[in-house]
Amino acid sequence: MSLLSIANVTKRYPRGRFERVAVRDVSLDIEPGELVAVWGVRFSGRSTLLRIAAGVESPEEGTVSFEGHDLARCRDSVLGRRIGYCQTGFSSSQRGLVIEHVAAGLLAQRVSPKQARRRGQELLLSVDAEDCAQLRCHELDGAELARVAVASALATEPALLVIDEPTSGVDVLQREPLLKLLRAIASEDTAVLMSAGDAQSLSGADRALTIYNGELQAELPPAQVVPLRRTDVGARSGERHRW
């Protein structure tokens, strides 16, 4: 059984008086520990696909099952728990300290605020963003925002991490370390589903899929996916982390 199974999913959006098909009859399976990247131009439907995969949005047609259960039914108990969804671009609108943001999700699991903060600190350390803990969200740069978002998504030890365009707004030099981080997460058995707007950001992916006009195309030939250098894989700071 796949970890996530998307079957014949379609999603439309109203656009003025018309509607736009964002995702058309897409099927996709993701196995535990896999790093899958979806690549496409704008309006290709890649973000919508990721939002549907995470359960943030429900498809009009087709089914999504996660760990064998219909995601439409179990969304509220899975999203943010077994599935971590990263919002990279938007967290900057948050006020308050980064550590508070990371710790907030844990409160729902009946963790005390004090413990949640401590755990938040560990999570930030695990993504190499421990220096950001006492900063405010709007003081972070693109790469830091992405790392913080990953940290808070990992707080509940999800089985699947969904991250939309992790490298968007991230300085070129900082992209590779970020992709390595995602690779390392996948290698520690948390499946990762990510999207990318350019081919350079596919590095490290086990599979790279192209989406065009809402339809999933063939897998990119492995040759087009730039591999990360071997020594880099798993080279995150700190020791082994629990997720």
Partner: protein, 850 residues
Amino acid sequence: MRLSGHIYLYGRRLRTRPVQELLAGVGIAIGVALVFAVQVANSSITDASSAIVRGIAGKATLQLRARDATGFDEAVLQRVERLPGVTSAAPIVDENASLVGHDGRRVAIDLASAAPSLLALDGSITHTISLRDLSRGGVILPSATAHALGLQSASSPDGALPHVQLDVRGRATSVAVVAVLGPEAIGALSGAMAAIAPLDFVQRIDGLSGRVTRILVTTAPGKGATVRRELTALAAGRLTVAGADQDVALLEQAVAPNTEATGFFVLVSAIVGLLLAFNAMLLTVPERRRTMADLRMQGVRPLQLAKMLLFQAVCLGVVASLLGLAAGDFLSRTIFHATPTYLSAAFPLGTQTVIGLKPLVLSFAGGVLATCLAAAPPLLDLRRNRAVDAVYFEDGEPGQALGRSARLRLLIAACVLILVTSGPLLVWPSAIVPATIGVAVATLLAIPFAFQLVVRVAAHAAASSARLNMLTVAVRALRGTTVRSLALAATGAIAVFGCVVAEDSHNDLLHGLYRDYSQYVSTADLWVVGADDDLATNSFQAGRLPARISALPGVGAVRSYQGGFLDFDGRRVWIIARAASTPAPIPASQLVQGALTTATARLRAGGWITVSQQLAEAEHLHVGERLTLPTPSGPHAYRMAATTTNLGWSAGAIIINDYDYRSAWQTADPSALEVSARPGANIPTLERAIVAVLGPGSALAVQTSGARAAQADVLAREGLSRMSQITRLLMIAAALALAAAIGAGIWQRRSALAALRIHSFTPWQLRAVLTFESVLVLGTGALVGALAGVYGHLLCDRYLRLTTGFPAPFAVGGFHTVQTILLIVGGALIVLAIPAYVASQAPPQLALQD
């Protein structure tokens, strides 16, 4: 989520958005304060009075009372005491009187006697009034009365007792104050305007030797009904048998119109408060929604989020409502703390603010509930078919402009609502509350349409000239913040509506009352009457006074005027007995049913009376039919010649011929003398001459009819002052709250304003944009509110006339309406000038990212 988690999240919210939370809290607190203060002030009148009545009556459950001020033979006491089932009986003489302090301060009081037998009744008065005090031959004053007279303590440093002048039944006597008793001694009674003295002392002062006005009776357990029957037999139709606390019920009846009228304001205040809170909460909605979306992504379940929202709303609601209660308590003790003096002629009144449980619970729970309601909109994001992070994909403020058809539908709904709620008024004039709520809600519904209309007119006007470009920009900016603008306009509309209705009805009422009083007193040039006796209900022994006044040069006629109160069918009715020779015994403007000439002729002929419309309706009486009155000499039937308004006395009034009055009440004591001057006589000279005739020992005063009407007007204004105070407070609160809400909106837009600055808008241009925006929003509200207010005013006047019987001729208060609008809109704009000025200077950095 654990409680600590909820507290942590709320703490985080408070730290990051303190101003938003403060604004929301202030809006709620204002609403709660207004509602609470009005309720407390209202219930205090009857509650304080009830405390006094109980303080005196103690364990007594029944009373036998005289139907007029001259009382009945005290020998009845022995007969009452002998009745089986009576455990004790205490005689009381009470009388309306005035005390005059050294510096001329006058206080209208209830002079009550206390005999040693009163001690057996075990009221609060009896715990502390010692026999020694009672035997010293002076009066005991509650601390409030002493305070009103300017007396500091009962005895001066040299041990001599202070003296005050006691005016009763037309005579002025100097009496010693033997004790001043505060709340620690006599509880609520200390707030009473009263004087307590030994029975024989009061009888002597009153000239009522051997007579009492009331006997309070305590019965053995289970014997109440028996004793009541025996007392009724004893009374033989000439005395009233009633519960010991009958005064409280009668007072409640008398203040009911006042309570209802203020109840209407409670309603308006509550709506305004709720809207203010809603507005303030609306400012926090986008941010709350984002927080909710973020938390949901982090695995917080919808139910937990709903709990979180509820927890935060309850926290805010509890704190804000508590603050509101404190502010309301302050208001009710200060600004609203005015006991309507006009009632003191007929009832024992207290000055205490009594906080009942009901207003407390109602206001508090209302405040918390309103907060929860206002906090609810973000819950819409939890709907199943919504994307979890939908909020991030919306532009601008939450919720965009309502569609054209939606606006039109709301307008139609408003019209239908007015028709549906106002329709029943044609049949049941008392259905005023649903009608008013209908108009208020319709006002809200009409706002979107009106707003669009105003914006369109403004856009059209702006298009005509490039000079009005800033108006164009303002109009465009308003499109983006529609829901909030609508909510603000609605708040302004409700505030203006409430103020216009209140202020205009209030003015109509004052106008009507003044017209009534001036006609009523215009029957004589000069009135000789007790100085504080505004309704001329306290009788005095005239002796040879009428004859001596008649002998004065310039006097045409002296007529005796008799008046008093009669407890009748659960009301304390005002009885006006006028001589047949009185030029116009019925004030023409106050006639409701019947022909004036016929009615006047019948009244003069005798056997006929006029009755207040409400009283007639309560008795199911029509013109020409008979009404039996429980007079001091037994039941007497009179035919009804006409119906009138209540002549300004809320419990109703009856005009009767003085011949009929004398035979039924068996007294010739007048309560006033009407003096008509000969043509060409100099009134001031005559006035001085009459004062000379009265002499120094008299407690009577001489007033021209004009002065008397003016005095009544002052009294009416005072009695209705709460209405205008509420209006004023409502206006101030509305102006401040609107300014705060608009100001907060402007503040949130500073980065957008900074961007406009970079686009070369000068601070002056930005200020013009902000001013235009505010004027359009507030102006729409004011316009709709004023229109609805005129209609509400019409309804309210109709209610006053038909249900309460007060004279309130309808007149559109154009000037007052404009004044109200200017005060609210202008006040808000002045307060807004500060945030607008600061925001217009927003540093350009705000638009940049660094």
